[in-house]
Amino acid sequence: MNFTYIILIPLIPLVSFLLLGIFNKKIKPGISGYIGVAGLSTSAALSFYTAYTYFFTIGKVDGVYQTFVEKITWMNFTDTLAIDMGILIDPISVMMLVVVSTISLMVHIYSRGYMKGDDGYTRFFAFLGLFSFSMFGLVLATNLFQIYIFWELVGVSSFLLIGYYYTKSSAVAAAKKAFIVTRFADLGFLIGILIIGYYTGTYDFETLNNPEGSTILNWASSSFMGLSIITWALILIFMGGAGKSAMFPLHIWLPDAMEGPTPVSALIHAATMVVAGVYLVARLFPMYYFVEDGFALNIVAYVGAFSSLFAAIIAITQTDIKRVLAFSTMSQLGYMMLALGVSGYDGHEGVGYMASMFHLFTHAMFKALLFLGAGSVIHAVHSNYLKDMGSLRKYMPITNITFLVAALAISGVFPLSGFWSKDEILVAAFEHNKLIYFVGIFVAGLTAFYMFRLYFGIFWGKNTTYKHTPHESPISMTFPLMILAFISIFSGFIPFSELITPDKAGFEAHLNIPLAIVATIIGLIGIGLAYIFYKKENDLADRFSNAFGIFYKWTFNKFYFDEIYLFVTKKIIFNRIAGPIARFDKKVVDGTMEGIGNKTVVISKKIKGIQSGKVQDYALSFIAGAVVLALVFIYLWTN
């Protein structure tokens, strides 16, 4: 089967990016919107076609899904070590293709309404194109270096899109923060790659992931500080993933990233880019699983679990709706990581892996939906803050319904997509690690609670009086909402366990009824609480928060993590390191050079007296010179 045409999927957005980027001023906004949408829909069509052919036309060959690779050498290091560029087709990449292209297309369509009249309209679509290109490239990467390359590219496009309103200094700051934090994480990623490259002699996923491959079998060959060097590499690589996927403690950039336009948040910071970290771990799953009995994988699990809890708690107290969603995203990503962390490899063992991918898929859909909904709300009320909202259901019904669907989905209410994926995750957790399971279940409750806090806060709650009455968004914005809502409802019935498993063989998934019931109940409790607190305008919430007092305050300030980072960067890096170095450079290093020069001049001033102008002194020195030479060379320095 020939998959070369897949190369078009990334290339088309790239072309549209170059087109819109270079002829930025020449192209009329309307046109550029169409160009973007057209390009993306082509890519999307191709992706769907690919998915169809891959899963159903070709299907399994002797029980497993095949992996197709097409690549060319991009740069040689040694005759063995090289960077390839190419496409790798296997279940998860195909799945990701679908996710990315769907969301991206939706966002493109949505943006045509949302960004209307913005003077950077064309630029916006250009950046979207760039992002889509990079994301596709990342998904299709055949080796670590390629994935790193596109990893950086999505990073920069995220930077550009967060900083889209570049005249707003807050946006610029957020963009900088996002880029630098992820960059710092990528440092780990890069070093990990270097280690892998050196010790395994390849960057190729196929070779690395082969359970019978040398990499996985000889992981113990070299060790460093008690751990296998490969484990170190995996941990470092996970650091990169954690950076992109906003895992604790590298999460701080994500909330600020909400400075970007809402469609961007939907696309990049909810659905696609942020899951790159999860995807990376999934990509290297065999290594994580087999090397040193999954030591690194456990780290993944715990980090994921903690992040999801941490984020969920914070999400409860935030008042900026986009930030609530941001923390929710972080929490859900933690969920996925957690699922990966508790997954096994063969057959039904791999349920965690499957669940994680499943949740990635469903979450992408309903989280994008949530963001786009929030976007349309913001579009209507021109504010991000709950206090400016309330009882919007009257004004914007479609948004209301779709948002509700998404909220229910994420809260894991039967039979929406979220229910299925979340359930699988909990199953996996339950089977492997009770602690993590309890965390998960607790987080599920929290999720339901803050989601509906949000929902009620926006669409019900107090009767806000608006300056100019908000109205439903144009069709270009509501259409994607409906599509996504549709998917969020039904995508739960996709038989993921058949399609995507670590061993690519698939297995028969069956619903674990007791766990499902528990989960649902917890979810409903959360919703119920939210209903009590926020359905009608009342002061329960405030009393609660006052009751929690200091804890509330801490949560509200996101446990002061930004402040800590600020301290580190400003106080330590800038003032304690860079400052002294700059001064050292001026005073000491430069000073020495200066000193040499100045000394010379000073000496020359000091000794000018020798040239006294007295002919007799000259004579004296003349004779003295002669005599001294004579004495020296007759008596002392004789040879």
């Binding site: 020359s604 001033k605 004579a619 020195s621 003349f622 003295a624 010179g625």
Partner: protein, 475 residues
């Protein structure tokens, strides 16, 4: 010996004739026509220079007290070219300032006499001839130094020069007498046979060396230099710094490589020390000079220090590099002095600050100056670079890496103050810059010759090969 042998002294005889002609002219040509004598002198000397290039076979006449060989012959030609350029550069000065005092011809007479002294000095075959040549070359210059009789500084310069010179010659005479005592002869070829490294010879050598170092102005025998250059007329300073220094360096080298060869283990150390002292002192003093003449004086002291780097080797390589360097040095320094001459003649300004913004008014002069300074500093592609590089190569060939390193450090220091002048001319702005002026033909010619020399001497390698081949006699 037959008459033809006299022709071997062609240089000397011709020059003497010219001098006498000028004397006669001085007597018979009446006052208001004197300036024609200037042209005559330059013309005659030009011819003399030209004739000098005809080959002359090696010889030693008068019982060996006068000897010449191709290298010496070449060197005399070099001196001739130098003096000729110098004359061209000073012609205007004489025309404008001196002739009306009715003392124009003296200048040439004295200059030529001194040059004659040089000839005898460098082709001397015994100490007597050498001594006479030395004095003959020194005394007229002392007279020339105090040439501007109306200037106090000029007279001071004259006195300082004559007194120091007398002392120097006294000292070296004492040294010579000691050498005579040990070797029993004043003839070089006899001395070579008998000389050995005894305390007395060493003492003699050192005293003698001091005497010559005075002319080359090596530290610590250099003090007169700056004052005399400052006080004397620029032409004279220029003459002192190029011709007489060059000749003295040359003869010192010849003697050290021939008769003092047995003392090499002593004098290479002496030269080492003196070279360092000279370079450092010269540069350090040059750093903060304002008066261009003093500035060039100290720079020329430093240059003398560099010459010693070639001298230290005592090999054919050393000889060749030294001669080559002196040749280049003559042109570079003449160019520098020429520019100073031109400017001071037109404006009477001799300070570095006066040169501020010179390029914008007199680009050509500034360019010549810059070339000269770069050549002195040893910046490629002008000749100075090659001269210095080869000198250092010579020193390094003997393994004096430290000395070379220090020397190059000195090059850097010197570059600093040369760049100060460049800065003044090119970078600094000036409210009252030296106005544009056009030089007379002679001056332009004089500068042109030097520029050609600076540009060509380095790049044109056969010249060096030729010198190298000639210097095979001293190794």
């Amino acid at each position: 010996m037959n008459f033809s042998n006299f022709l071997l002294m062609r240089h000397e005889i011709l020059l003497l004739t010219i001098t006498l002609l000028l004397l006669i002219g001085e007597i018979f040509i009446n006052k208001n026509k004197k300036s024609s004598l200037v042209h005559l002198a330059i013309f005659l000397f030009g011819i003399h220079t030209a004739i000098g290039f005809f080959a002359i076979d090696e010889c030693s006449i008068f019982g060996g007290s006068f000897q010449t060989n191709n290298l010496i012959h070449l060197f005399k030609n070099v001196l001739n070219i130098g003096v000729f350029t110098l004359l061209l550069q000073s012609a205007d000065w004489i025309q404008e300032k001196i002739v009306n005092q009715n003392r124009g011809t003296e200048f040439f007479i004295l200059l030529f006499t001194s040059l004659l002294g040089m000839y005898f000095m460098i082709s001397a075959g015994d100490f007597l001839m050498f001594y006479i040549g030395l004095e003959l070359s020194t005394l007229p210059v002392a007279a020339l130094a105090s040439y501007e009789t109306l200037k106090r500084k000029s007279s001071e310069a004259g006195i300082k020069l004559i007194l120091s010179a007398a002392l120097a010659s006294g000292v070296s005479l004492f040294g010579i007498s000691l050498l005579y005592a040990t070797s029993g002869s004043i003839f070089f070829h006899n001395i070579i046979e008998v000389i050995t490294s005894t305390n007395l010879t060493i003492l003699g050598f050192i005293l003698f060396f001091a005497g010559l170092s005075f002319k080359i102005s090596l530290v610590p025998f250099h003090f007169w230099t700056a004052d005399v250059y400052e006080g004397a007329p620029i032409s004279v300073a220029s003459y002192l710094s190029v011709i007489s220094k060059g000749a003295a360096a040359f003869i010192l080298m010849v003697l050290m490589f021939t008769i003092f060869k047995p003392l090499i283990h002593t004098w290479e150390n002496i030269v080492y020390i003196v070279a360092l002292a000279t370079m450092f002192i010269g540069n350090l003093f040059a750093l903060r000079q304002q008066n261009m003449k003093r500035f060039l004086a100290f720079s020329s002291i430093a240059q003398a220090g560099f010459i010693l780097l070639g001298l230290i080797t005592g090999t054919q390589l050393g000889t060749a590099t030294v001669v080559y360097f002196i040749l280049i040095y003559i042109f570079s320094n003449l160019a520098a002095f020429g520019v100073v001459q031109a400017i001071s003649l037109k404006t009477g300004k001799e300070n570095m600050d006066d040169y501020n913004g010179l390029y914008r008014t007199n680009p050509n002069l500034s360019l010549v100056m810059m070339l000269a300074l770069f050549s002195l500093a040893g910046i490629p592609p002008v000749a100075g670079f090659f001269g210095k590089f080869f000198l250092f190569t010579a020193a390094a060939s003997k393994g004096y890496y430290l000395l070379v390193f220090l020397a190059v450090v000195n090059v850097t220091i010197s570059l600093y103050y040369y760049l100060l002048v460049v800065r003044a001319m090119f970078i600094r702005k000036n409210d009252h810059p030296i106005p544009f002026f056009k030089n007379k033909l002679y001056m332009r010619l004089g500068l042109l010759i030097t520029v050609i020399g600076i540009l060509v001497l380095g790049l044109y390698s056969p010249l060096y090969d030729y010198i190298y081949e000639l210097s095979s006699i001293y190794n």
